[in-house]
Symmetry: D2
Subunit: 366 residues, 4 copies
């Protein structure tokens, strides 16, 4: 059996101009990143924004299990199947983080014959969106420290700064650090730490913003910490939102790629599902709905957390209404829920399966 990487490497990709063409997107509405990736321009949006919306299909799963639920693979598979049936469809996914990719988890662009390509690019720098999020995020951190250093007119309590720095890497040694050492000229000592970039509030904001103006406004509302008398301090108080938004003006544009079968796929935004809302950007979903008859998207984590957030946060903010919800519930995952140990999931076990189904029923009732 071929590995995911082999299959991805052997993919026969169309140029992204051709993929876009299949959605009636014109070449000058694209910002190309090499031959197989492109950002969708504001001009495109202005042309299609009054189109009727396509149907929205949400793919979710029962609770997360070590068995792996295959949400992305299912999403890509449905998209490819619809494509083969001649349905004009788009898949809308999150961007995988470089962090876990360089660490343990491996890429997150589907598997087997249901993958998004060019896989390696998507898993590395892609079109630079996560880098831009990291830089915008850390610019705010630098402005906080610079404010402390320049006399701290806002009276920010260095012990109550909640805005940590971010890095797009599993770099555990940076989780708890002390910064600002080295004397009067170097900064004000304080405890700080790094989170992974996709856990950044900037990423969450990017994924919920309608446009650059909305993004800038939301960035300004970020609470970075508290003053000595316990009042919140925002990014706007530090006049940071303008520069942050400038750094994100390309990152806010959705990225177009394709599946192994050349189905269009928009990959944009990747907020963590555990601490943020965990789905791709609202802008990407909106572009997709205007460009295709069916849009298949997914929500991170299981139905109980990820789908809830999708429905309660993203749909409400964006006025979306899914027309169908697919719940991925593999037999392996059900058996796991029924009490089977991870290493025994390959074997048949009908009793465990029955027990595990209770979980699925509960989700269906919600």
């Amino acid at each position: 059996m071929k590995s995911d990487i082999q299959i991805a490497t052997e993919a026969k990709m169309n140029t992204i101009i051709d993929v876009a063409g299949s959605l009636d997107i014109r070449e000058d509405e694209l910002e190309l990143h090499g031959k197989y990736k492109a950002k969708l321009s504001d001009e495109l949006w202005n042309r299609v924004k009054d189109n009727e919306d396509g149907k929205l299909v949400l793919v979710t799963a029962i609770n997360p299990t070590p068995a792996g639920e295959g949400k992305t693979t299912t999403t890509v598979g449905i998209g490819q199947a619809l494509g083969k049936m001649g349905v004009n469809s788009i898949i809308a996914l999150r961007e995988p983080s470089l962090g876990p990719c360089m660490g343990i988890k491996g890429g997150a662009a589907g598997g087997g014959y249901a993958q998004v390509v060019p896989m390696e690019d998507i898993n590395l720098h892609f079109t630079g969106d996560i880098h831009a999020v990291s830089v915008a995020h850390n610019l705010l951190s630098a402005m906080i420290d610079n404010h402390l250093q320049q006399g701290n007119d806002l009276g920010i309590d260095q012990r109550q700064i909640v805005w940590k720095r971010v890095v797009d890497m599993n770099d555990r040694a940076l989780r708890h650090i002390v910064v600002g050492l080295g004397g009067r000229l170097q900064g004000v000592p304080r405890e700080d730490g790094y989170m992974i970039s996709v856990a950044s509030e900037v990423m969450a904001i990017l994924c919920l913003s309608k446009d650059l103006m909305d993004l800038k406004k939301r960035l300004g509302q970020i609470v970075i910490g508290y003053t000595y008398d316990r009042k919140p301090v925002t990014a706007h108080d530090l006049k940071a939102e303008g520069a942050m938004a400038a750094l994100l003006k390309e990152a806010i544009k959705p990225n177009l790629v394709q599946t192994l079968e050349n189905t269009p796929c928009i990959i944009h935004g990747g907020p963590f599902a555990n601490i943020a809302h965990g789905c791709n950007s609202l802008r990407a979903t909106n572009y997709a709905l205007k460009l295709a008859d069916v849009v298949i998207t997914e929500a991170g984590f299981g139905a109980d957390l990820g789908a809830e957030k999708f429905l309660d946060i993203k749909c409400r903010k964006g006025g979306l209404k899914p027309n169908a919800i697919v719940i991925v519930a593999t037999v392996r995952a059900l058996k796991y829920n029924g009490g089977v140990d991870k290493k025994d999931l390959a074997g048949e076990n009908v009793d465990a399966l029955k027990k595990g189904l209770v979980n699925l029923e509960a989700i269906l009732k919600t």
Copy 2:
């Protein structure tokens, strides 16, 4: 008088495909980044590598003064002038750092009517090369800390790690930090610090490497610190060079942009001139020499430091021989060297000018 930004914004750019076309580069030899930036592919190199080299012109300046010498502006101006004269020429520059740009210094892509565009893109993320350098650099840092955490088989002395982290920003509070706090699961405590990304040895290596294989080999030779018994430890000892090189496989490709007058300009690599060799990449210069009759490039800092490094390091490594050297010596800079205070440089002062000329003479004699 119009500001640099106004002039840059009003530029009438050709598409980068047209700019490349003026050098007989074919569209499929480009990796487009939007309409006005492109990376030059390996395929292009393979086609032109046996062409005869053009002439190489080095622009340098007398010693750096607060008056500003205008090296880049002169370089761009010469390139534009040659273009207007019908000479097939390419300008080859360093990429400006986001760091100083977000801080105080402002962009570094020329000035007035001798600028490189699209200015804003060049000054922000450009094609992501510096981000890639930062990530590759910091991956090595993360692997060092992870090695300490996993038992430290190499016996690395945490007090003798010379490989600091980097960030593409003026973030002074990160210069002296303590990392690895938080207990047994988080890492091994040690002193660390951040430098600006363009000061990274990875940037210096990127700019001196012939190709990806050469890059990988050189990355492996990086000394990251010393063992408890004072033996050097390299990136290769940590098996880091492969992943680092993978992260740099796009960054190693030169970037093509244009001047305000549509002269082709290759911007690639930006090692600091004070601590590294301070000129654009060897690869970029080689591409340029194969594609044009005249290549105008510059070396950071003054003739005594920057040009020396260009001649002694880059030319020797790359087998280059400049055909001409231009020394920028403004009257203001000469007066400054002659003892005039910065704020009085606008006024006439022939005596000071005469005194300042001594410096220029010394350089010419070298």
Copy 3:
């Protein structure tokens, strides 16, 4: 009404030689510290160790309340009363910590006309015992860091060192610190912290040791942390116990002072009652039992914690059997237990008193 300090200052003290004389202790069996404090020598112990033991009275209290239970005042009062009745009695108390004294809590040598004097000396350096404990404790810390610095032959994991440093002061900024900074010559960076000296395990050990040999053996058994492969490391592994014991050779000798009415009082050792056993030293109690017909001592905290520890730890280790137990239960404390707010404790409230008595009954049943 006179303040405690006024009363203490006006005390008519006998010389400590006279106080000792009332217990038939000879001058050359004392090590004088000025006129009113003395350490009891080993020679004294050797002379009296075969005497018959006196009666042992333990003073404890119901659960600790903000009303203050007055255990020490009661203990001193009983001692003075017995003295007035002509009973040959000794009071045996803990030494108050300088830490809380310089901070908020104030001294801890009784109150009103039931105090131990010279109060100021007792509350400051006294005879240097707590200083000696601090130095012995911190010597072990210094030896740990020196061991790390000298090559760490024992393989101590710097993230698993449980032996914090101590200071006899409320110095909150020292609770969480990072030590060993400054480069290769200064030490191995690690997280550390300071506790208050009386919380030192050295203090607990000092108070449970029979003699200097026993002390040294117990010091050697201290676990200071764990190796990289999770094995415990002891003070003995660092060869620290000899020097530590040498630093404690005076501190192990009980201190003799007197009450306002010249009743002999031995003050020796002061382990925290919350984390250690919270009563004066076993040696002090043993000396007292050999020298007097009745010994009145107290246990820190309430009966449920302090008295339990006294009975379960100190009595078992030392073969002691209290002949009587006094439970201090003020009406104020009972009312507080009955639900009265701290600020209303002065007023009569029989209902609350009845409710509060439940607590006392529970203790009596134990």
Copy 4:
């Protein structure tokens, strides 16, 4: 040949009451610390302060060499010799630091048959003076951090606090530390460090103060750091000097011990000679001058540094005038100055000796 420790252990000490008696000091003018150490009381001073001063002899040495100059041994030897000749003399020395003693240097109370005893006591806690200095010093540190924590009304810049903490131990890992970690309730993070206690400015002040009032005033003048606008902040600004002086009220009293031949010796105060003035306390010298016909004292380091400081600082502050100066210049030290390697100092080398004498001549001319 017997070791120093053997000789010291076999010493036939008189009781300190007898030693004091030889100077006509009455028992009730002493504050005894065991049988062989006593503090000299204020009452004694009041009785003798109008006596005529004895003669003052200063012992110094040529420049410090690794050969060891034997200043203390010479000082003690002269004192003993005068004693044997029937001259009523007192030796006045510095107190050795516990720090170097527990580390490498070993005790500092003379050698051979010219030692001060009880040696072990002197080298360990002695009468607690250095402990008191440490606690008073660190109380000020704690008050600084507490001030930062309580709102920092004085506007102290945490990066410009020059008042480090102290510990009476060679504890290198404490030289550079970060304190105040752990969050809002624990303190304000800042860089700090520990010096050895005898390097404390409190020790220097203690040794130059006339009495407790003078001490308190001088303590109040200590500059602990600077405000954000670069104004000095003193201990008095923090209202620290009262508590500090209270902690030093015993430490300010000179300590009386004896030599192996029972010559009275006052050991009091031990400021480092490299960074402070390096001689025993002014109070001790004054007591000695009132009590004996001849007082032999020494100054730390060589004549060029230590004796200069003695003459320029201590003598001026205290109105002292040495009647004689002894310069210790061993043949070994002269040979070392003449260029002989440390390991060859035992051999005869007249040439080197001649060369080395130049140094001695230079000192004599000063």
